[in-house]
């Protein structure tokens, strides 16, 4: 499980509550590893049982108590073990490609609508990425420059992916519109 290890990574920066972790996840890694709140709380409980974390509970009536989680040595060991472990195939599930796969049973116009929808989504994604660096400047003050670089690398990867998809989609749409059923990448 990788959410576990993302959490270990965040807690390696500093002790935090589940609420804080949720915010950090949304803000930084959600574009390649989203997580809902209930999943984070469940995972934190499991990790505590595994003795990767300790909790300090600070009551603050009438709100629920803040449960500040902190890495144990065993948690830190696990984090660095995992950070060095080669990850096998990355999981990708693209429902829209299933649609394209069976696109032979649709009319050209229907397929083009599907492709154009994906194009819109990818362009929106690109816009979303371009706002991250500035927000980041504000929120992160004088954190480690090196941490910042690797964060921005993951953003850059997202941008590269989105750009590649956009140009692929544009070519495919154009080809189909012209009645030329050519593959943009393989040969011509």
């Amino acid at each position: 499980m990788s959410l576990e290890h993302a959490i270990l990574g965040f807690l390696n920066y500093e002790p935090m509550t589940g609420y804080d972790i949720k915010k950090m996840v949304d803000f930084s890694v959600s574009h390649f590893w989203p997580a809902v709140q209930s999943q984070i709380y469940k995972t934190l409980n499991r990790m505590e049982k595994e003795a990767w974390l300790t909790v300090e509970t600070i009551s603050q009536d009438p709100r629920p108590p803040r449960k500040v989680y902190q890495l144990t040595q065993s948690g830190r060991d696990e984090l660095f073990r995992w950070l060095n472990e080669p990850q096998s195939a990355s999981e990708v599930r693209l429902a829209w490609l299933i649609q394209i796969f069976f696109g032979g049973r649709l009319e050209d116009g229907q397929v083009i609508a599907l492709l154009e929808h994906q194009l819109t989504l990818q362009r929106q994604r690109l816009k979303g990425f371009s706002s991250i660096p500035e927000e980041h400047q504000e929120n992160m003050k004088d954190d480690d420059e090196r941490d910042r670089f690797f964060w921005m690398l993951t953003v850059d990867f997202g941008v590269a992916q989105a750009l590649a998809q956009v140009s692929w989609l544009e070519k495919v749409i154009e080809n189909i519109k012209q009645g030329e059923y050519r593959l943009p990448t393989i040969q011509g």
Copy 2:
């Protein structure tokens, strides 16, 4: 659920057993929507209950009976309804990007090892793709030309994605090796 709809798509070609479907999935859509055997059988049962499929059971002792599934009208309707439904964000979970995200806490050499591992995986993926078109020629004989085109489009997408990842990874590795911490895509 999209496995459901992939199955509807395959059964729209012709009636098949779960075993047949598993083979087709592995051969054609598994690179963007993998499915294990037990998942397929479970899904077929559910789909039968939903009246999207009917079964014809052909006993063949001592083997398990062949259960040949066939689309109902309601199943076909559901297929085409779904094929035209715009799909929202495609699910992508990239564990190795979590590693890169926390790469600031590793040494350059360790990060480079992670990146080079991904590079190897993507190059292998590319090799895998290049073998599909020929296999396909053999297996598919005189099926609809149009179906074939859209199948090959999904392969082409996979190739485009893999190529984009390869060149991104190459640039990042090079930059880090030179001690120049630059983002390949955003600016320079």
